[in-house]
Symmetry: C2
DNA sequence: GTTCGGTACTGGACCGTACAGTACTTGTTT
DNA sequence: AAACAAGTACTGTACGGTCCAGTACCGAAC
């Protein structure tokens, strides 16, 4: 139990522990209540920390917000790696379907949806943060699709004139209905896995009908 | 000039005039700065009206917000009528393309985008308003597509298993990239008419590749 | 067309509350 | 001992909503 190299070090100094508690508390509050709807007193209370400690770690509310948002895009890379692997597929239809199912599963998670709503809501107040978030999360995913489809086109498996647009088409063929609704309705999980799979499958079907050679 | 029946009566009482000024001012402010970002003092000032007058016309800030949002979906019917007409088309590809170009033109307008962002932002605070808005605007449009495609399928021009999903596919094939970006970036009009047409045309191409008989 | 009364509107003071951020004093950890 | 954190009181400000004293508007009566 005295390992040194841990991804999440258990030997975490008091300060670091407090800092993490603050970030976790603030993340939850921001996601649920938005920027203006979250007070620093709430953050301190939920983190079980004094307000001073909050301000010792983060100069002000804006910086806390920025740090949290840009820290919330960590796991995007996991998905884009999976996308990249698709370029070498031996069974396009099958693997594209598998990818689509993964995609919608990730994107439809309450966390992801809340983040998206939060950024859209605050795009006016924090244009730079919204832009950065877009580039790191949805944008990066679209870019991964773009690269992948370009390679599949080079292999002769797809016929694509405008790769970025094809990537957007793929993404939105899958997300279309659930994402649109999720933006306006709460995050009560309103879709069963079977429904999500249906969205994924139909999206892939349409995509291949238009883009397969 | 003494006509009685006018759609917009030029003889508009003082009260009605003030009320309209308040709604216009508040609309602009809410769209630009959001609900929390707009103060009643600002509304009164921009409307060139006293705060009392605001509160005489609207019981409180929430009701003002609700009235504005639900009043902003007036012109949706104009578009859905156009959609309905498509059901009797003699040249599907041409008319669908025309419809798609109209669709993206309307949806990409700054007003529409701001409204969408505002509702998404406030979905947590005003779930009922967000739901109503969705049903009146994007939802109603999708429904119009659904009905139309169903009829086209009955005529043997399309092959559709899941009409509502096909409607979502159509909508998002067209909007995909510009809408996604518009949600996160400001409303600096970032697309030329030519680009919008490209989105419309490509969306229609993909749609027909997958759904035409 | 002048007078009159009711209603709407103005302008600004005002109340209570909430919140970002600071100051300071008293523990607590290492 | 020295840095860190708790707790809490405090400052300044912004905002929603109300109140009130006075003014402009408008339609009816004369």
């Amino acid at each position: 139990m005295t390992d040194v190299a841990q991804t999440t070090p258990q030997v975490e100094g008091r300060s670091a522990r407090k800092r993490r508690a603050i970030m976790e508390a603030a993340t939850g509050l921001f996601l649920r209540n938005g920027y203006q709807g979250t007070s620093m007193d709430e953050v301190a209370a939920l983190a079980a920390v004094s307000k001073q400690t909050v301000y010792k770690n983060f100069t002000d509310k804006e910086q806390l917000f920025r740090d949290i948002i840009l820290g919330a895009t960590d796991r995007v890379g996991e998905f884009t790696e999976v996308v990249a692997q698709l370029a070498g597929t031996e069974d396009l239809e099958e693997d594209l379907g598998e990818l689509a199912r993964r995609y919608i599963t990730v994107v439809i998670q309450p966390r992801t949806l809340q983040l998206r709503r939060l950024l859209i809501a605050e795009a006016g107040r924090f244009p730079a943060v919204a832009r950065d978030y877009y580039q790191r999360a949805p944008g990066r995913t679209i870019d991964a699709f773009t690269d992948c489809f370009q390679k599949l086109a080079d292999r002769g498996l797809l016929r694509i004139d405008d790769p970025p647009l094809a990537a957007s088409h793929f993404a939105w063929l899958i997300l279309s209905q659930p994402m649109d609704k999720a933006m306006f309705f709460g995050d009560e999980q309103q879709y069963t896995p079977a429904e999500l799979q249906h969205f994924a499958d139909e999206g892939v079907r349409v995509f291949l009908a238009a883009y397969r050679t």
